[in-house]
């Protein structure tokens, strides 16, 4: 532990949470919910509207041996891909904390999913009816992994309005998977989405 380290952090000590954002020492355990959807669908907006802290960004780096890429100098190259996720926090009571992670749904980010979905209570698939395609793969992937989810339709002004049953048919969703409309900019609406997920999880737990 005595080796020389990067000086960046010495010169600019990392700022921690504002005093009012600190968790009490009684905080004993956390749970997480993942908000998944394509770019621009409103994940960060939803996280921000219910979070008690300004959304933060965490990052994960994946290094893989380059396969047939740029090997003109005959050396095996390593490529590293970095993915950022926005997240927020809700203190549910003195002991229990909920974290919400907004995660890109595109296939090239799936390597991230392993750690992320392990232990997640469930997921919200946020969709924009103008671009349903992105959601197909994501939904299939969640079903494969056995992650319970609900679908939230984010209402953009110029998006065609589809009755819930049309969305269900288009996404080929089982009858019991809840679908709700939402406006991710509004806290009550985003909270309702989370409530819908929790009631759904509750029904699964009872069954």
């Amino acid at each position: 532990m005595d080796f020389k380290s990067s000086e960046t952090l010495v010169e600019h000590p990392a700022e921690g949470p504002r005093t009012e954002d600190e968790l009490p020492d009684s905080a004993a355990a956390a749970v997480k919910v993942v908000i998944v959807g394509g770019f621009g669908v409103g994940k960060t907006t939803l996280v921000g509207s219910v979070s008690e802290i300004r959304p933060l960004t965490t990052e994960e780096t994946m290094t893989q041996a380059g396969v047939g890429v740029d090997d003109t100098i005959g050396v095996e190259r390593k490529t590293s891909t970095t993915v950022a996720m926005d997240f927020g926090r809700i203190s549910l009571n003195d002991e229990l904390v909920l974290y919400l992670f907004g995660t890109p749904g595109q296939q090239r980010f799936w390597f991230l999913w392993n750690g992320l979905f392990d232990g997640a209570l469930g997921a919200v698939v946020l969709i924009d009816t103008r671009r349903l395609e992105v959601s197909f793969d994501v939904i299939g992937r969640l079903e494969e992994r056995g992650v319970p989810f609900v679908v939230a339709v984010n209402s953009f002004p110029d998006a065609p309005v589809h009755p819930v049953e049309e969305v269900r048919a288009a996404l080929d969703l089982p009858a019991d998977v809840p679908i709700v409309d939402c406006d991710a900019r509004l806290r009550p609406s985003s909270r309702d989405v989370l409530m819908t997920l929790m009631r759904y999880l509750h029904s699964l737990a009872v069954a």
Binding site: K32, T58, T61, D118, L121, L194
Partner: protein, 120 residues
């Protein structure tokens, strides 16, 4: 607002390599850390510690999740968990594990979440 497609601007693999001494976080104590594991320091940082270790200990005077630490320190989770592994081995911080997946979905837990959300 940041878009999840963009990384932190100053991503520097060499810097990250130096911070961990080239180790990766896939084994030992680091392996059991989740994004929502809460980290709490047991005491204040000691002089002479690696700066990143000292920063973690300073930030975790109140509980902080691995994800929050990663955000505040602008370090990828894989790098951060290596550093946390050191501190856990030396018993300088404690990790409060997330509610274990095996218990999910747990009715009482879900009810606690619903109750908490109702207060929002």
């Amino acid at each position: 607002m940041s878009d999840a497609d963009e990384g932190w601007e100053d991503e520097n693999p060499e810097r990250l390599y130096v911070i961990t001494g080239g180790r990766s976080g896939s084994s030992g104590k680091s392996a059991s850390l989740d994004l929502v594991t809460l980290i709490v320091s047991k005491n204040s940082p000691k002089p002479g510690m690696q700066p990143e270790h000292a920063t973690i200990m300073r930030l975790c005077h109140s509980p902080l999740s691995v994800a929050e630490l990663s955000a505040y320190m602008r370090l990828p989770v894989s790098v951060l968990t290596v550093l946390l592994g050191d501190l856990l081995t030396d018993s300088r911080v404690v990790a409060r594990a997330p509610v274990p997946p095996a218990q999910l979905p747990d009715r009482a837990l879900i009810e606690a979440v619903i109750h908490g959300l109702q207060k929002l």
